[in-house]
Amino acid sequence: MVPEAEFSSYYDRPVIKEPAWGTPDVPAYLFLGGLAGASSVLAAGAELSGYRVLARAAKISALGAISLSAAALVHDLGRPERFLNMLRVFKPSSPMSVGSWLLAGYGPVAGAAAVSDVTGLLPGAGRAATLGAGLLGPGIATYTAALLCDTAVPAWHEGYREMPYVFAGSAASAAGGLGLVAVHPANAVPARELAVLGAAVELIAKRQLLDRLARSGGQSVAEPYQAGTTGAILRLAEFLTAGGLAGAVLGRGSRAVSALSGASLVAASAMTRFGIFQAGMASARDPKYTIVPQRRRSGRE
């Protein structure tokens, strides 16, 4: 056990500022955006392999999730009426700029896919929209990792190599899980496959993330992910992910077990995003997570 590092600070005040993003708006956005993007992936795959009922459910989920997601995002702005200013420029150095343009493309396409399927209008265009949403969906599900990690927040920034995989896995797990809730397991094989793959990726990537953070610079930046209520939420999420994964596989003959497993995966995905968000905020508030690793890096420790 490494002893607590000695360091000075200015009256224990934070060095950086906590992001201005509010709860629940932004963590909800992270979860819903991931769910939407991965649901479009599921919809495209299900449609191509003939699982029509599942494909429709996934398209509706995607549209619903992205609509709520966009509402949460606009609501969190300090000047919501100026949300269109996001489209004044395209800046690859800003994940929020890239994401805004992705959303501007993905939203209408996901909407068209769902509406066409439900109403039966313009099936050809609907099929194209489904594939288009399936192509943009992965970007929607993963760019949010860049959004968090491209900041000065220690618990997020230091995890930049693993976070995209955590988010992709979490999104896939949630989308597959929602498919299992909505559709009988016999007609939801792609959903189960996506859920199992996503859950496995999420569990492994999260472990890698915490291992790396625990090793960094003399002050474990894994601490905010493990301590207090945040730690409890993330551990519960891990348990629900593992349980949901097991249930999806072992209970694939049973509607009830499948649905319960799916719900478990969806809840776990939401809890993971909230937990990661809170951990970041905590790491910004306590100056030690900024000061100690930087002193170590600059050779002063």
Partner: protein, 287 residues
């Protein structure tokens, strides 16, 4: 190797890069800089309470505080040598009892500015003087800049929902005036001018202080090879940066962005490939 931020931003034939050299060894803690800044920029009042942090009742930089004077009262071990005693401004310090560090903090106008890089609306921009300014009529208050600043400078106002910070008095520079804080500073602790002149002056000043026995004198953010490409507003400190609330070794988050985007691309490609794999799965009749 020194980057010219104004040239990089696309200005042809721009004026020399302007900035601040804040020599905290000269600061007397009068807070004229805080007042002048608020007066000139019509920055709102943001708190009239006592913090208990020595004379610092401003507490930190924010949307409504663009100059912040920090006060640190430090015990000094009684092995102060004669040279240091002669050089010190206070007889209390010479007696080896206590010394008082005072510093006027401000936006660093980084050469590689995190806030500028992440702003999605283009509200934050680089001026022809190499400074970083927010356009109040564009900012939609997304708050991304707040978490991206390695120094905790910029913040979102609760009153108008937008981000605000020091403009290096952009409106004064255009007419050849110096910023309000530099104008008001009675000891010339805040020095304004072309950045390379200030860097040279600072180098000589640190040398003088060290020769006079003040070994802890150090430049902060004066090196163009540091993690933000050097700052447009740099400092002479008399102790470690973290004592003043400054990060010891800040690196702009954008430095890691290429690697981050690569991992995002791989993760996204993996998810997309899954769609293809799912699509190639067993065809289900009438599902």
């Amino acid at each position: 190797m020194s980057i010219d931020p104004a040239a990089r931003a696309g200005y042809a034939g721009h004026p020399p890069r302007m900035g601040f050299f804040t020599d905290t060894s000269l600061c007397i803690g009068c807070k004229a800089c805080e007042v002048a800044c608020k007066e000139w920029n019509a920055v709102p009042e943001d708190g009239l309470s006592l913090s208990g942090m020595s004379y610092d009742n401003t507490v930190g930089l924010g949307a409504s505080t663009w100059r912040h004077v920090a006060f640190i009262e430090q015990p000094v071990p009684p092995r102060v040598n004669a040279l240091e005693a002669a050089a010190s401004p206070s007889s209390v310090e010479a007696a080896g009892g206590m010394r008082w560090l005072m510093s006027s903090d401000v936006c660093k106008h980084c050469t590689e500015a995190g806030c500028l890089d992440v702003c999605p609306t283009g509200a934050l921009f680089r001026t022809e003087f190499g400074t970083v300014v927010v356009q109040d009529d564009v900012c939609n208050g997304c708050g991304y800049c707040v978490g991206a600043c390695p120094f905790g400078v910029i913040a979102r106002s609760e009153e108008d929902g937008q981000a605000h910070k020091c403009t290096l008095c952009y409106d004064r520079l255009g007419t050849g005036l110096e910023p309000a804080c530099a104008k008001a500073c009675p000891t010339d602790s805040i020095q304004f001018g072309p950045l390379d002149e200030l860097r040279e002056r600072a180098r000589l000043r640190v040398q003088d202080l060290r020769e006079a026995g003040r070994d802890s004198a150090q430049l902060y953010l004066g090196d163009p090879d540091d993690g933000i490409g050097g700052a447009g507003a740099f400092f002479l400190l008399l102790d470690e940066p973290e004592v003043y609330g400054l990060p010891p070794d800040p690196v702009v988050t954008t430095r890691d962005l290429p690697g981050l985007w690569r991992h995002v691309a791989i993760a996204a490609a993996g998810l997309a490939a899954t769609a293809v794999a799912l699509g190639l799965g067993r065809r289900k009749a009438g599902g």
